[in-house]
């Protein structure tokens, strides 16, 4: 509180001064210092480590770009990169479509709508590792899913979902999606609330159909939310790790390997921390590249 009053007094006293009050400066610089020390410095070290060969015990050995050259011929890296793209498309695409769908369905204030919103948002609250444990039990041979299938007379479809290379990746996407939809829905709900109802009324007067209203009012009005959703989804896709690691550890034999799980297992299981750091740099560049391109475009349109 003392800080607050000091702050407001400073504002009143120097209404016309251009100098930044020291308290505000401190508020900016102290977190920046903390961020610099705990985030930027380790990140820079990661860049350096990606140019070395390091087992975590001996001193790192500088090898130049050898780690990046190895990636070109590493078939597991290729699998992981492809799976990550697939993950981005499926997990990202479906969570946008279903999240927006849920938001449109639940945007009207009707009786009981709060319950459905809460139900869809609930998975976001759970830890993804705990979620994964529940889903693992469901995917088990003789688990809930297999038993439901055989109960419906579809016993021939029963399957070791997580242990089969053809189903493992998709079986892992489902729990991740189950959680993400609620999150995206909330973002879109907030966006939908911000749209001026007068726009819809005007459209109705002009005889616009439901689809035309959606296409020409809702979608353009949500463009600022889209930027947020896109960033969230790209970042969440590329850092998706916990659910995959808890369910399959990237297996069986790398068939559900993502860049993030491959990075972890290379660095901390194989103890090839140099190559692991190089993978981390690739993940960073991918995330940064996608988001930066989108933001630059979005800002240009805004101008």
């Amino acid at each position: 509180m003392a800080v607050l009053t000091a702050n407001s007094r400073a504002r009143r006293g120097r209404r016309r001064a251009t100098r930044v009050p020291p308290v505000v400066l401190a508020f900016v610089l102290v977190p920046l210092l903390a961020e610099g020390f705990w985030v930027f410095w380790p990140a820079l070290q990661g860049f350096y480590l990606s140019l070395t060969k390091w087992d975590g015990v001996s001193p790192p050995q500088f090898v130049g770009l050898a780690n990046y050259r190895e990636m070109l011929h590493d078939s597991v890296f290729h699998t992981a990169a492809l799976d990550t793209v697939l993950w981005l498309a499926l997990f990202g695409g479906l969570s946008v479509v279903l999240g927006l769908g849920a938001a449109l369905l639940l945007q009207q204030e009707r009786r009981g709508v709060g319950f459905y919103r809460a139900a869809l948002f609930l998975p976001v609250v759970f830890s993804l590792t705990a979620t994964a444990l529940v889903w693992q039990a469901m995917y088990q041979p003789d688990g809930l899913i297999d038993r439901t299938l055989s109960g419906l007379g579809l016993g021939h479809l029963a399957h070791p979902w997580l242990a089969d290379q053809n189903t493992a990746l998709y079986a892992v996407i489902v729990p991740a999606l189950w959680r993400q939809i609620g999150y995206v829905m909330v973002l879109y709900l907030a966006g939908l609330k911000g749209i001026d109802p007068a726009l819809y009324e005007a459209a109705k007067v002009d005889g616009a159909t439901r689809w035309q209203q959606f296409r020409h009012i809702t979608v353009p009005q949500l463009s600022s939310v889209n930027a947020v959703v896109l960033s969230v989804i790209v970042i969440d896709s590329l850092r998706s790790f916990d659910v995959v690691w808890a369910l399959t550890r990237g297996g069986p034999y790398h068939s559900s390997e993502l860049l993030s799980t491959y990075m972890y297992s290379t660095a901390f299981q194989s103890l090839r921390l140099g190559y692991g750091s190089a993978l981390a740099v690739v993940i960073f560049l991918l995330a940064f590249g996608v988001i930066a391109t989108y933001l630059v475009r979005a800002f240009r349109e805004a101008d």
Binding site: Q136, Y253, R272
Partner: protein
């Protein structure tokens, strides 16, 4: 985006205050983290710190009993710090290389310890092996705890054994006997399958893929011998050698009798399946008994992994657990005193009493839990011409994931064995050249 422009000064001030609070919290938590790592890794006030990965409830309390008994003797004091085993495994290199390391750590002897010893990270404890109860340890254990430079760097505390476990009541019901040879083993599998039972459970799914390595280890030491096995794991042979192909040819002979869910169930679920009579038997270490219901334990028995080539000296897997000390410890004398104590019959009996009691003491004078199962296991290891540790212990923890990938793929697609072994050799080469 427009909401920022319309927000009142109050909310902005709140935001600033909040941001400041978050920043301060981050700083403070930063201090806390660095403070706690400092104190946990370096013991305070002269007590010897023991970093333990024995985090399962029974083993943890047994370790607490053990350290309490040591502290009661007077003289040097020790403090126990138990870390979750998965965290311990990934952090071990950090512990060993930090400027203020824990004094003593639980881990494995043999190749793994030697790898650290060659980097000068382990304390030479050859002197405590000269006198006291350690001098009476078996020659095999002495050899196991010696590094390539000839120094003793490890003190063993307990070991366990692997075998093909089954339920006595089930074998009686099905009218089948323990097999001795590979042919008898295949005949047993056929007999079980004819009765509608899945003969072999595995348990290499759900995060315990390493269990499949037991099959590779045993087939390799039965066909090519323990010496070849160790050399292979040390990178002196190639995984695409014809000898390794022979291992998988033999494995393919029994593959039809494996549980089709073998790579979908973790070993805990696979042992439950065996105890619930869904599978006939499984190759597993005695640690599975920790999770088995007590009333079932009397019904459990095991047989030795069948002999394939009688001309190959019989080796068994007998993984040994124990302790090594950091070379940078500031309590050299005290840590050696604690290590000598941990090697005594008294200490090992305290540990066995507190834990599940299916492991065996390394001290020849220490009493084991004395059940028929444990006696049979002890006889198995003592009669063996050679004792191997386990895949990761005879090579390195870093090599284990390459085996997991290769073996799960073999179990799913045995026909692709040639390309699997080529890929395994390529992956392993990356680890060896590290």
């Amino acid at each position: 985006m427009t909401s920022v422009n319309t927000s009142s000064p109050t909310s902005r001030r709140h935001f600033l205050a909040g941001a400041g609070a978050v920043g301060a919290a981050a700083l403070m938590s930063g201090c806390v983290t660095s403070g706690s790592t400092g104190s946990s890794s370096q013991s305070s006030g002269g007590a010897v710190s023991l970093q333990s990965n024995l985090s399962s409830p029974q083993a943890k309390s047994a370790m607490q009993d053990l350290i309490a008994a040591y502290n009661k003797r007077g003289g040097t004091k020790a403090s126990l710090n138990t870390v979750a085993s998965e965290t311990f495994r990934t952090q071990l290199p950090t512990y060993l290389t930090s400027a203020t390391p824990p004094d003593l750590m639980t881990w494995y002897p043999g190749s793994v310890a030697d790898g650290y010893a060659r980097k000068d990270l382990l304390l030479d404890v050859s002197d405590i092996w000269q006198t006291g109860e350690l001098a009476g340890y078996s020659d095999a254990l002495k050899k196991l705890c010696t590094d390539t430079a000839g120094a003793k760097v490890f003190v063993p505390a307990s070991y366990y054994w692997w075998g093909v476990f089954y339920k006595k009541s089930n074998f009686a019901k099905w009218g089948v006997q323990e097999p001795k040879t590979w042919d008898e083993f295949i005949a047993l599998c056929k007999a079980l399958k004819a009765k509608g039972v899945t003969p072999i459970g595995l348990g290499a799914g759900g995060g315990t893929a390493w269990v499949a390595s037991a099959w590779f280890d045993y087939l390799n030491i039965r066909i090519n011998g323990a010496a070849y096995h160790r050399e292979l794991l040390a990178g002196k042979h190639s995984f695409d050698d014809p000898q390794v192909h022979k291992v998988f040819d033999k494995w393919a002979e029994v593959l039809p009798y494996f549980d089709p869910n073998g790579t979908a169930l973790a070993f805990q679920d696979a042992t439950t399946a065996m105890l619930n009579n869904r599978t006939g038997m499984m190759l597993i270490g005695t640690f599975f008994a920790d999770a088995a219901p007590k009333d079932q334990l009397d019904d459990i028995d095991f047989f030795q992994f069948p002999i394939i080539d009688p001309s190959v000296p019989v080796a068994e897997e007998g993984p040994t657990d124990g302790y090594f000390a950091s070379a940078r410890t500031r309590h050299k004398a005290q840590v050696k005193d604690l290590m000598s104590y941990l090697a005594t019959a008294e200490a090992q009996e305290i540990y066995l009493k507190g834990s599940s009691g299916t492991s065996l003491p390394t001290n020849p004078k220490a009493k084991d839990s004395g059940t028929p199962l444990v006696k049979k296991g002890r006889a198995l290891i003592e009669s063996a011409a050679d004792v191997t540790q386990f895949f990761n212990r005879d090579s390195s923890d870093a090599l284990q994931p390459t085996a997991d990938t290769a073996l799960t793929k073999f179990l799913a697609r045995p026909k692709e064995i040639t390309s699997i072994l080529t890929a395994w050799q390529r992956d392993a080469q990356k680890i060896w050249s590290q």
